[in-house]
Symmetry: C2
Subunit: 404 residues, 2 copies
């Protein structure tokens, strides 16, 4: 039971100050903001001299570029604009039950290349899945590098519990993977990138994508709930992913919402997943065509909802009701006041939204204010963007790693 959070025993050295200030200055340089050295000095409290020296080093890393003299029409010598260099990016990849997705995101947040392939990965041999993923990734990376992009790192998101340090998928029930070592593939996806390729949980990555490329502009603290075949989640607190002592935090799919309810695949009872997972909703809606894939049946569900099918509507509203219970519990425990719904919950937003809102009102009036419920618009790129974004953040947090 590896647990993080030990007292930092690392001594502070004089050089740490520079590392911290490099990251601090970099955090003040945005994609298109054209900030000047003087702006940064004013914003950070560092002297102009220090900022100049720090910026010089950041330019060396390639993460930052000078945009030439700004002409803002004011008096005095104009400054030189600085911005993150869009020629640096990271690879993001996702293995999910229904599809594979790969993309390259640059430091401006632009998705530079992107591929999604439908697939039926439930029970498929990991090596076959990983081989297909590799092929997709190489096409994406080649397209991006051809346009002048250099990769800094990457990330792979999977729908399950992972050990990022060892590159192992501990368990992904909906893929039927257990203790699957993917560390070799991680290296081949983006070879020899300075910040490596890191394994992550799909819902956690999607939560981060929402932070950086979605509703994060408005929400700095929220619970992200990812509706896929299973129900995953990610907690964002203070604009950072809260992953818990062992990295398993946010598992909202197995919060108890119906104490008298059904057994769950996790061995427990009354879990959210047993009433709001795709299979549960489909069963309640009476869409039980065993022959077709879950994805195809979800399409049937949507058709039924649009046709006004009462059983389908009730099934989805029931899911919304139970989502509300889980959200209330999470909000109480972790002090949150916003939720972002992704995956099939985002697809079903017009039916599930009102049910969720009324559930929240019933179980904890005022806890989640007006506007505190949002739906993701990132669709199948969410996890991939989050995984790539995490790699970019690793670079932005430790630019000194790129210096001699």
């Amino acid at each position: 039971m590896r647990e993080q959070g030990a007292a930092s025993t690392a001594p502070g050295r004089v050089g740490d100050v520079r590392r911290r200030n490099l990251a601090l200055v970099l955090a003040n340089i945005g994609p298109n903001t054209r900030v000047t050295r003087a702006d940064i000095a004013a914003a950070t409290g560092l002297t102009k001299a220090s900022v100049s020296s720090l910026v010089a080093e950041l330019l060396e890393t390639g993460l930052v570029e000078e945009l030439g003299v700004t002409r803002d029409g004011e008096r005095g010598r104009p400054g030189v604009g600085l911005a993150l260099d869009a020629r640096r990016g990271a690879l993001g990849a996702e293995i999910n039950v229904d599809y594979l997705a790969v993309g390259v995101v640059d430091l401006h947040g632009t998705l530079r290349s992107h591929e999604v392939a439908e697939a039926v990965n439930h029970g498929r041999r990991p090596e076959d899945v990983l081989a297909e993923l590799s092929a997709l990734a190489h096409r994406c990376v080649d397209a991006a590098t051809a346009s002048g992009l250099t990769l800094l790192g990457g990330g792979l998101a999977v729908p399950g519990l992972v050990d990022p340090a060892r590159g192992i998928v501990l368990t992904a029930p909906n893929l039927r993977w257990h203790d699957t070592d993917v560390s070799a593939v991680l290296e081949t996806l983006a070879p020899e990138v300075p910040f490596g390729v890191v394994l992550s949980n799909e819902a956690n990555s999607a939560a981060l994508a929402e932070l950086w490329y979605g509703h994060g502009a408005f929400f700095r603290n929220y619970l992200f709930i990812s509706g896929e075949v299973g129900v995953g989640g990610g907690l964002v607190i203070g604009s950072e992913l809260f992953s818990g002592p062992r990295g398993y935090a946010g598992e909202v799919g197995h919060v108890v919402v119906e104490p008298g309810g059904r057994r769950c695949s996790c061995g427990g009872r009354g879990c959210l997943e047993t009433v709001a997972g795709q299979e549960a909703i489909l069963a309640a809606a009476g869409i039980t065509d065993g022959g077709s894939t879950t994805a195809a049946r979800m399409a049937s569900l949507q058709a039924a909802l649009e046709a006004g099918d009462a059983q389908a509507v009730t099934a989805v509203e029931r899911a919304g009701h139970y989502l509300g219970i889980a959200v209330v519990s999470a909000a109480r425990l972790v002090d949150l006041s916003a939720v972002v719904l992704g995956g099939h919950f985002a697809v079903l937003r017009q039916w599930i939204g009102p049910a969720l809102t009324s559930s929240l009102d019933g179980f904890a009036p005022g806890l989640v204010p007006e506007g505190g419920v949002a739906f993701s618009e990132l669709e199948t790129t969410a996890a991939l963007r989050g995984a790539a974004g995490a790699a970019l953040r690793r670079a932005l947090a430790a630019p000194y790693e790129l210096l001699g």
Copy 2:
């Protein structure tokens, strides 16, 4: 809606290194450990020269004292033992519904003086409560200073939501306090102490007391549940209190555990407090003597339990069952594997323990392992110790504040 967690915009300065290392060295000095400078150098990675210089400054602060030459029988020059100086301490105080408690805790963790006064504070005028508390506190502080102790700071814990920055009790339903300004009293409790007197939530403080003076030696990550008239909670993650973006985290009393259940005073429905709070348990046990206080009726409950009264036993077991649901949800969301129960839950441990364990087994087998359920032994000193301990930790984390 004040939220913490903004990007730290403070620049790193050369002096920060020293501040960090002072705290680091201090963190390696325990109450009775008799560590030497050489031990600290080995543990921290700092050089002996740096440790010597840092220790010299720590001695100046008065937080640390030299114990004279250690004689450990090994070869070589013996080192000089260092320990936290027990002549420094902090005041802790608690206002609860049934009682007032005050104490002084020194840097060795010893409760140097201590007073508990039964009181019926529900609906009592805040100024009367605070006046009685002040009198108790002055007696305690006088006793402690008479024995040569110097106060570094203090803390006051109340059963409700607080704004520590402004010294205001936002809402304490079981006291009937709302927006009560106690900042003036905070200053008079322990005047002119270097680290101030800070307001906190009772359950959060008790959770910290458990960490520092209770089960914290075994658990670094747990949910503390405080059973008082209401049900409060505190999350400890990585040996630190997790207080959430606005400071309201850990409110396990209002997690939804019985979706079809009763209305709660918070306006919601099915909250844990409606089935495991003292009034709820007493009602279910049929102990409804309206004339006597809650505390007196809790004593009757205990007598009934010891007599084997079936209704009483069932009532408590029912509370344990619902506690299990809340614990499972918390453990899933925040990735915890231990719980510590305090307040009336600790008093009722022999009846509530088995029910809780079996509830956990039913709703999430394996989530909370054998030994992951513990009961507090700090009784009415828990919150007071936590509040005092927090003040001591503030001093230990920022020893440079005591230097010129």
